[in-house]
C-alpha cells in the first residue's frame, strides 16, 4: 500500500467485499482456476461435496475446524428462486429454512402451526437515481429526486412487503454501522411531490387517451435497488404513479410486476394503484385521479 487504508481489515476480513478468501496456494496452482471451481477447498467449517448450478450445493462438516465442530453435519442449499416454492417446501418439511419471503407468503408461514417467521435486519433498500449525473436528465434536479422520495409511502411498503418487520429510514447507512448518522425518512407527501415536479418544470398535463393528468418524468428500470434481479417494488411504482412519476417496466419484468401487484390488491385491498398498459412499458397510476 502507498498510503494508510483504515478500511483494510473490513475490506479483506469481512463479507463487506468478500475479497479476502483463504485458499491453499499449492492446490490452486495444481488444479488451476477451473479445477478449483469444480472442487474448491477453503478454510471454513464445512467441506465442499457437490454443486449443481441452479439446483443445489451440498456441504459436509469439517470436524477439525478451529473454532468448533459444526453441530449440523450436512448442509444442503437448494436453489428455489420462487418464494411460493420456498414456502411450500418449508411447509412440506422438505427444507428447514426458507429465506426472503414477502407479504402474503410470509404471513402464511407466520400463521402456520409449527413454523416460525423471523426477520433479521439485513441491508438498506433504496431508490437510486443513476441519471442524476447527466445534466440533461430530469433527475439532475434535486426537486425531482425529492419528489420521488416524497412519493414513497414507506410504511405501506413495509407492511405490504415485509409485514411491518422492516424499519423505514432516511439514511443509506444502517444505524448500527460505525459512523452512521441517523436520518428520519421523508414523509409520504404526494401533494408536495406533485408541487415540486411542477416547480422543476414538469407540470402535469392532460393525456387525452386516458383523460387524466400525468407528468412526463420517468424513472429508468435500474432504480429499485436491493431487489432480486429484475424485481421491483410494485407498490413504489403505484405510489410514484399517483404523484406523476412513472416508472418504466419492460417485458417479462412488467408481467411479473403486474401479477404481483394485482395479487396484492386482491388480497389486501391495500394499494391505491391499478396497472395500465402502455405497450411494453406499463405504468402504475392512481385510479382516483383518472
Amino acid at each position: 500500500m502507498r498510503e494508510p487504508w483504515p478500511d483494510f481489515p473490513a475490506f479483506y476480513g469481512t463479507f463487506v467485499a468478500s475479497a479476502g478468501w483463504v485458499v491453499p496456494k499449492k492446490y490452486v496452482e495444481q488444479v488451476g482456476e477451473e479445477g478449483f471451481r469444480k472442487a474448491p477447498v477453503g478454510a471454513g467449517p464445512y467441506k465442499f461435496v457437490s454443486f449443481k448450478p441452479g439446483v443445489e450445493l451440498v456441504l459436509e462438516a469439517f470436524e477439525g475446524y478451529w473454532r468448533k465442530s459444526p453441530s449440523i453435519k450436512r448442509l444442503v442449499f437448494r436453489s428455489l428462486p420462487d418464494e411460493t416454492t420456498r414456502a411450500a417446501a418449508l411447509k412440506a418439511g422438505e427444507v428447514d429454512v426458507a429465506l426472503l419471503l414477502s407479504g402474503p407468503v410470509a404471513d402464511d408461514i407466520r400463521k402456520t402451526p409449527g413454523l416460525r417467521l423471523v426477520a433479521p435486519l439485513l441491508g438498506i433498500f433504496w431508490l437510486d437515481f443513476p441519471d442524476q449525473w447527466d445534466p440533461k436528465s430530469p433527475w439532475a434536479d434535486k426537486r425531482v429526486r425529492l419528489a420521488a422520495s416524497l412519493a414513497i409511502d414507506r410504511q405501506a411498503l413495509n407492511q405490504a412487503e415485509t409485514l411491518g418487520l422492516s424499519r423505514p429510514t432516511g439514511s443509506l447507512v444502517p444505524r448500527d454501522f460505525e459512523f452512521a448518522l441517523p436520518f428520519e425518512p421523508h414523509p409520504y407527501d404526494p401533494k408536495r411531490a406533485r408541487q415540486l415536479l411542477a416547480e422543476a418544470g414538469y407540470p402535469q398535463r392532460v393525456r387525452r387517451r386516458r383523460d387524466r393528468a400525468v407528468s412526463t418524468v420517468q424513472l429508468d428500470g435500474r432504480g429499485h435497488h436491493g431487489m432480486a434481479p429484475g424485481r421491483r417494488h410494485p407498490h413504489a411504482d403505484a405510489q410514484h404513479g399517483a404523484c406523476g412519476v412513472h416508472d418504466r417496466v419492460a417485458g417479462e419484468e412488467a408481467a411479473r410486476g403486474r401479477a404481483h401487484h394485482q395479487r396484492r390488491v386482491r388480497q389486501r385491498g391495500h394499494a391505491a394503484g391499478v396497472l395500465r398498459d402502455r405497450g411494453t412499458a406499463p405504468s402504475l397510476s392512481d385510479p382516483c385521479r383518472r
Binding site: 468448533k68 426458507a98 413454523l115 423471523v118 431508490l127 447507512v173 444505524r175
Partner: protein, 74 residues
C-alpha cells in the same frame, strides 16, 4: 462527495474520520442522491426442526456462522 470519500478512506485520526464521514452522509441526505426506503427485515421461515439460526449474530447477515446453527434433538 468523491473528495470526502477519499479523505475519509485514508484518515487515521478517528475523530477527523468521523467528522468526514458524517459530512459525507449529510451531503448525500441534503442532495437526495438516493431515496432510502427501509432497513430490510429479512423475512425468513423456520421449520419445526430448527432450534435457532441466531439471526443477527453476525451484524448485517441473515444467519449465524454455519457452525453455530442447531437443530432440535428428536
Amino acid at each position: 462527495m468523491n473528495d470526502l470519500f477519499r479523505a475519509a478512506g485514508s484518515e487515521l485520526d478517528r475523530k477527523k474520520r468521523e467528522a468526514l464521514l458524517h459530512q459525507l452522509q449529510r451531503v448525500l441526505n441534503e442532495q437526495v442522491t438516493q431515496a432510502p426506503v427501509y432497513h430490510l427485515g429479512f423475512p425468513t421461515g423456520l421449520g419445526p426442526r430448527v432450534e435457532d439460526i441466531l439471526a443477527g449474530a453476525i451484524p448485517g447477515f441473515y444467519l449465524a456462522p454455519f457452525e453455530d446453527l442447531r437443530l432440535r434433538r428428536p
